[in-house]
């Protein structure tokens, strides 16, 4: 459904951010991109969003190439990035400009209700807490009903408790329309809590190191043995990706599944 083929990204300053990254994601699948800093996971997300163009390779959604921001792809940034001069409701409706006002209002009301912020529509973004603002930014991306939702470490700036709550919120939101979800994170727990698959990346240049299935039913119990196992698998791959000498493996992704990775 979402298909990345042989993506290469070299920045103008010569930094080699991505080297031959290929990844196929099925419709409705949740994939976590995990990796240390500088492994190109954010770059990868920006290529998929169309905000940046790859040096080589293609991104396509349902066979349609993505070269610029596309209506089928929504993005949630690391910071909420709400427009401070728009109310919460106007922020959520930002991408619905083409709809008649009444329809837009209904969609926004529904969205606010879904993230537990009913009645917050007329507020200014500055009146929201960090967690509330990020919830608004998530529904701002979801309200246009994208087929693919990209998230760039959306909860990394929040405290652990808020983060766990928002992860549950996110799953509930995802449940409703089941978009394909590509989530960048450096938080192994987050990957295990949300993802069907954790793709571990390796830095300098950014490559896929391991592709780990997390075949756990939802809702997931964060204390269950399976969950702990999945976390350990991802963590192990992450350690492996960082201890390898850069360039030595040639960027071949290793196929692994939970429990049999080491």
């Amino acid at each position: 459904m979402l298909s990345l083929a042989h993506l290469d990204k070299v920045y103008g300053n010569g930094a080699h951010a991505l080297d031959d990254v290929s990844l196929d994601v099925e419709a409705g699948e949740i994939v976590a991109l995990v990796g240390g800093s500088g492994c190109g996971k954010t770059t990868l997300l920006r290529l998929v969003s169309g905000l940046e163009a790859p040096t080589h390779g293609t991104v396509s959604v349902d066979g349609e190439a993505i070269a610029a921001p596309h209506p089928a792809v929504g993005i949630v940034f690391q910071e909420p990035r709400l427009l401070p001069w728009l109310t919460v409701a106007q922020n959520i409706g930002f991408g619905l400009d083409h709809l008649p006002a009444s329809e837009r209002r209904d969609l926004v009301e529904e969205a606010l209700l879904k993230v537990g912020l009913a009645g917050y529509g007329p507020r200014w973004p500055r009146e929201l807490s960090g967690g509330q603002a990020q919830r608004v930014s998530i529904v701002r991306a979801l309200v246009t009903k994208p087929k693919v939702l990209l998230m760039d470490e959306p909860f990394s700036a929040l405290d652990a408790l808020t983060r766990a709550t928002l992860q549950d919120h996110l799953l509930a939101l995802w449940e409703a329309s089941q978009p394909t979800l590509l989530l960048v994170t450096h938080d192994v727990e987050e990957a295990a809590a949300l993802a069907d698959r954790a793709v571990v990346m390796q830095p300098r240049p950014g490559r896929i190191f391991a592709d780990i299935a997390v075949p756990l039913p939802r809702p997931r119990d964060r204390l269950s043995p399976g969950f702990v196992e999945a976390k350990r698998a991802i963590l192990g791959a992450l350690d492996g990706s960082l201890s390898q000498i850069p360039g030595a493996t040639g960027g071949k992704p290793a196929e692994m599944s939970a429990g049999s990775w080491w």
């Binding site: 969003s49 905000l51 610029a68 921001p69 596309h70 209506p71 929504g74 993005i75 940034f77 910071e79 990035r81 427009l83 401070p84 001069w85 728009l86 930002f94 991408g95 537990g116 912020l117 009913a118 009645g119 917050y120 507020r123 200014w124 973004p125 500055r126 009146e127």
Partner: protein
């Protein structure tokens, strides 16, 4: 749900409390601001009445008020005020419009910035008053040369402010617009314009302040009406009360014009975190 409602109530209460604090702060600030000048005026008046000071060069407040009242009653003051305001209005309008346009151009296009900005910066380095002889040669000694001087004075802060505001727009916010596939025009209208508004208003306020500065210069150099003329006239005829009356008018007009910009733009900036403090 109930949790959210409690939260809601709490926020509302906080909001109300902060509004109350802001209004009392504003009102209180107004009163506090008056204490010093009013006390000084009363003290001086009392000293004058008691015969403690010679008031030939510094007339007491009562005499300034009397002069002001006489000027106002004869209709003369209105003529001068209107003349001055017209000059400031026209000069500021001209300078601000050109400043906003050129600032927007150099701010948004790096080619335009490389072409225009060095020249404009060089022109900025020239003290605006140095243009006066040239403007008088070109435009004559009447209104056009005065308005040109004021326009030049107002232009630079507005130009610099708008250019800087555009350069400082957060790339991350612009990216939101790009992610939602806004056209260049819509990006300018829905993202850039609101983002630069606060800085632009500050630039306009400082431009207007300079406008009042340069109107005095223009009127002192030769005018038959205007508050600046009252200043010169007061000096030549030895009427310090008239000079002080004119200065008082400048203070009131300048403050009122600035306040007008503030009030006119307040609804546009209610979203700002820092607005209460800057007001």
């Amino acid at each position: 749900m109930s949790e959210i409602q409690t939260l809601d109530l709490q926020t509302k209460r906080n909001a109300r409390a902060s509004t109350r604090a802001a209004s009392s702060r504003l009102g209180g600030g107004f009163v506090y601001g008056l204490i010093l000048p009013v006390a000084a005026a009363l003290l001086y008046e009392a000293a004058f009445r008691a015969g403690l000071v010679q008031a030939r060069l510094l007339p007491p407040p009562s005499r300034i008020a009397e002069t002001l009242w006489k000027l106002a009653a004869s209709g003369e003051l209105l003529t001068h005020v209107i003349a001055t305001l017209l000059r400031v209005g026209l000069g500021f309008g001209l300078g601000a419009v050109v400043g906003v346009l050129l600032g927007a151009l150099t701010g948004s296009s790096s080619l335009a910035r490389r072409l225009l900005d060095p020249t404009l910066q060089a022109l900025r380095a020239i003290p605006s008053l140095a243009w006066v002889p040239l403007f008088i040669l070109w435009l004559g000694i009447f209104e056009p040369s005065k308005i040109a001087l004021i326009a030049v004075g107002c232009f630079f802060p507005v130009y610099l402010g708008v250019m800087g505001a555009i350069a400082n727009v957060d790339r991350k916010i612009v990216e939101v617009g790009r992610a939602f596939r806004l056209s260049r025009l819509m990006l300018a209208r829905r993202i850039l314009l609101p983002a630069i508004l606060p800085d632009t208003i500050v630039a306009l306020r400082s431009g207007l302040g300079l406008g009042f500065m340069f109107v005095v210069a223009a009127e002192i150099m030769g005018a038959s009406e205007g508050l600046g003329y009252l200043l010169v006239d007061g000096q030549q005829l030895g009427k310090p009360d008239q000079i002080l009356a004119a200065i008082l008018c400048f203070a009131i007009l300048g403050k009122a014009a600035d306040w007008l910009i503030l009030v006119a733009t307040r609804p546009l900036l209610s979203w700002q975190d820092s607005f209460a403090r800057s007001g």
